[in-house]
């Protein structure tokens, strides 16, 4: 490392450009800004196609507004269905990105760097989409006002606490996305040509200036930033746990068999983390392919994420087993009927599909060395995201369609006296219609759409972080070489083997200066 970093490890600023002593890596900067300056036509085609799907969802919602929730397949025997499952699934997948990024930051896993921006962006875009599902779920949009305006708050309603928890988590995710963006905005600003006066260039300049603020890259700035990111990372983990726990309260605090489950809070949290990491894998794979980031997001990243997925998948399988074992063992009348319907009754196909596609298959793929590569992990993740959505349907729909008053309640097919139909059924039926399918597809399309639009303005890779990590890697490499020299300070370094990469690098730099 030549040049300006001779006075210390990455803690000084060059007077001319404001960049840190960490050596600028042109290749990283170019790759990170590639989506911003990319002029490929494919972007317009894909964004156009995804926008059309989103438009279809908006039309479907308009039809539902005009004709009522009945057009979405809802009826008095199936009062909760696909929208509630979508709400849980989409908020769930948002959870993975932020939490994985936070955990990897706190544990100072150096390999995380190229993934953090995509993971945090995925969390940021999926969370509002998930929150929006409460609108079609409530049916009448004016009820949203009663949800958000404190004088109307029903403090004993879990839905209100869901709203409070998710809003808080959205703020945390936004701050968590914003803070690491500050140094990158400073770098990105420098890459816009001063001669470029196009609307896009002017917009980007305003955006980057407002994000970068007074960031200079000085040691104190970096320390402040690192400390703040660490603080938010610490806050976001329990917050994410609370968000999904509270989301499960909407089910667990009811009196219905299948909803009234004390295991639900932890069950929902693990499910969210499981599907969330899978979505990060899919997002990273697609963006890597689209913007040719194979050099930075490597197979190693996918395999390591695959290990996290495997751990979460095994935990989720265990919790699923526990849930049905306990309910099946205690077998009160309602619970026995519900367990039977899921395992061998009318819902056996979706349940066992989940079991195979999101339970067994990903574990087999990741456990098999032959499949443990980028393709294998992406395939496993695709199965997980879809099958976990199916699992959410299995959680939401069966208990909602089970009549609380069973044998006493009969459905009369004719109202004439003396013509009572005796085909009483304890189970209602939910039928999918084009309306919820369109709205769900629109929400799914909105994720890549928002990511593609977001990365037209924001560097896709965390430039500052990656440069820092590259520097640390080089320093560690140099330290390892030095350790092999007789009479070096290597012995001292080896005692710090368990320390973080950053700490080791700093110690090395200090030792080197002392030696000089």
């Amino acid at each position: 490392m030549d040049g300006p970093n001779s006075s210390g490890y990455g803690m000084a600023v060059s007077a001319s450009s404001g960049s840190t002593l960490i050596e600028p890596r042109e290749d990283i900067r170019e790759a990170a800004m590639r989506p911003v300056f990319d002029k490929g036509r494919w972007w317009k085609f894909i964004v156009g196609g995804l926008s059309a799907v989103v438009l279809l969802g908006i039309i479907a919602w308009a039809v539902q507004l005009a004709d009522g929730l009945g057009v979405a397949g809802y009826n008095n025997r199936a009062f909760w269905a696909v929208y509630e499952a979508d709400l849980v699934a989409f908020i769930g997948v948002s959870y993975g990105g932020a939490v994985v990024s936070a955990i990897l930051r706190l544990t100072k896993a150096s390999w995380r760097a190229p993934l953090t921006r995509i993971a945090e962006a995925t969390a940021l875009v999926t969370l509002p989409i998930g929150m929006l599902f409460i609108v079609p779920h409530l049916g009448e949009p004016s009820r949203i006002w009663e949800l958000v305006w404190p004088p109307y708050w029903n403090l004993s309603s879990p839905i209100l606490w869901d709203f409070i928890a998710v809003s808080t988590y959205l703020l945390a995710t936004a701050v968590f996305f914003y803070l690491p963006l500050i140094p990158d905005a400073k770098i990105a600003l420098e890459r816009i040509s001063p001669e470029d006066h196009s609307l896009k260039a002017r917009t980007l300049r305003v955006l980057y200036r407002s994000v970068a603020g007074r960031y200079s890259g000085s040691y104190s700035d970096r320390r402040l930033l690192h400390g703040s990111i660490g603080l938010v990372a610490i806050m976001i983990i329990p917050m994410a746990v609370s968000v999904h726990s509270v989301l499960s309260f909407a089910f667990a605090s009811s009196s219905r068999a299948g909803y009234l489950e004390t295991i639900f809070p932890v069950y929902f949290v693990v499910a969210a983390l499981y599907s969330g990491v899978a979505l990060v894998v899919i997002s990273a794979a697609l963006l890597r392919k689209a913007y040719h980031l194979e050099r930075y997001i490597t197979s190693r990243h996918f395999v390591r994420l695959g290990f996290i997925i495997a751990a979460m998948g095994a935990a989720y399988l265990y919790l699923t087993f526990t849930e049905y074992l306990i309910d099946g063992y205690s077998s009160t009348r309602d619970e026995a009927a519900w367990v039977r319907q899921i395992l061998i009754g009318r819902y056996w196909i979706p349940f066992w599909f989940y079991f195979v596609a999101a339970g067994v298959l990903p574990l087999v793929i990741i456990a098999t060395k032959r499949f443990r590569n980028t393709k294998g992990v992406v395939v496993a993740s695709s199965f997980i995201v879809f099958a976990m959505w199916i699992k959410r349907l299995v959680i939401v729909i069966p208990p909602a369609t089970e009549a609380l008053v069973k044998s006493p309640l009969k459905v009369a097919t004719t109202t004439g006296a003396g013509h009572l139909a005796t085909t009483a059924s304890a189970w209602g039926t939910y039928h999918f219609t084009w309306v919820p399918i369109s709205i769900t597809l629109a929400a799914t399309a909105a994720i890549p759409l928002l990511l593609l639009v977001l990365f037209k303005f924001v560097p896709i890779l965390p430039i500052s972080e990656m440069e820092e990590m590259a520097e640390v890697d080089e320093v560690i490499e140099a330290a390892q070489v030095a350790m092999e020299r007789p009479g070096s300070w290597g012995g001292r370094l080896s005692t710090l083997h368990r320390g973080s990469a950053m700490t080791r690098a700093r110690v090395y730099e200090q030792s080197r200066r002392q030696e000089q």
């Binding site: 006075s7 210390g8 490890y9 803690m11 000084a12 600023v13 060059s14 007077a15 008095n76 403090l155 004993s156 606490w161 409070i164 808080t168 703020l171 945390a172 701050v175 914003y178 803070l179 500050i182 603020g213 007074r214 960031y215 200079s216 000085s218 040691y219 104190s220 700035d221 402040l224 930033l225 703040s228 603080l231 938010v232 806050m235 917050m239 008053v405 044998s407 006493p408 309640l409 009969k410 459905v411 009369a412 109202t415 006296a417 003396g418 013509h419 009572l420 005796t422 700093r506 730099e509 200090q510």
Partner: protein
């Protein structure tokens, strides 16, 4: 030729008769029902249902009587273990489902009776179904009456039996305070970073 023609005629006539019968049954279902009823009316007893409000009280009495009790051959029309199930049509839902009010075994006179408290004011359509011990529906009947008094359906106070019912307000205040603190901490972090940055920019260099 003749050998072939004769069976053809038979087949044609049979088809014609069949189609005509089907057409008559389809065009005049009432006549067909009447025919069925008249054939079976001797054997089928009817269930007479009566319902009325107890004067001055929010209580209704529903009774059902099966007549005749015996067939012409002297056999009892009420199998052992037969029960009368009393339902009322709920008016709150589109499909008007039937809510079970209660059940009572038929007495030796073929009668059963229950009392119930209407939960809404107005028309009450009551249905009675007699089932054998295997749960098979044997006879049905219905009637309606107007209830002038009713009891509130949700009279009980559920909160009283909740173990955490008494701490609700304190928990709410505590939770909202925590949420407020989290919001403040997050916003303060973002603001602190913004305000704190660039303080040492003039120094341009700093060491560890």
């Amino acid at each position: 030729m003749k050998k072939v023609l004769v069976p053809k005629i038979f087949v044609s006539v049979a088809m014609l008769v069949g189609l005509s019968t089907a057409a008559v049954w389809w065009l005049f279902p009432g006549m067909a029902d009447a025919a069925t009823v008249s054939n079976s009316s001797v054997a089928q007893p009817s269930l007479t249902v009566q319902a009325s409000e107890v004067p001055g009280k929010a209580v209704a009495t529903v009774s059902a009587v099966l007549t005749p009790l015996y067939s012409p051959t002297g056999a009892s029309m009420v199998p052992p273990g037969a029960k009368a199930y009393f339902y009322v049509h709920l008016t709150q839902f589109q499909s008007s489902p039937l809510l079970l009010l209660g059940s009572s075994p038929l007495n030796s006179g073929g009668a059963a009776q229950i009392s119930y408290q209407p939960t809404w004011k107005g028309q009450q359509q009551v249905v009675v179904e007699v089932e054998n011990s295997a749960g098979k529906s044997l006879y049905q009947g219905s009637t309606s009456f107007v209830a002038t008094r009713f009891v509130a359906p949700f009279k009980g106070t559920v909160e009283a039996i909740r173990p955490d019912g008494g701490i609700g307000r304190a928990v709410v205040v505590a939770l909202l305070t925590i949420v407020a603190l989290v919001w403040i901490a997050l916003l303060a972090t973002a603001v602190r970073v913004n305000l704190g940055m660039g303080m040492n920019a003039s120094q341009k260099t700093a060491s560890v």
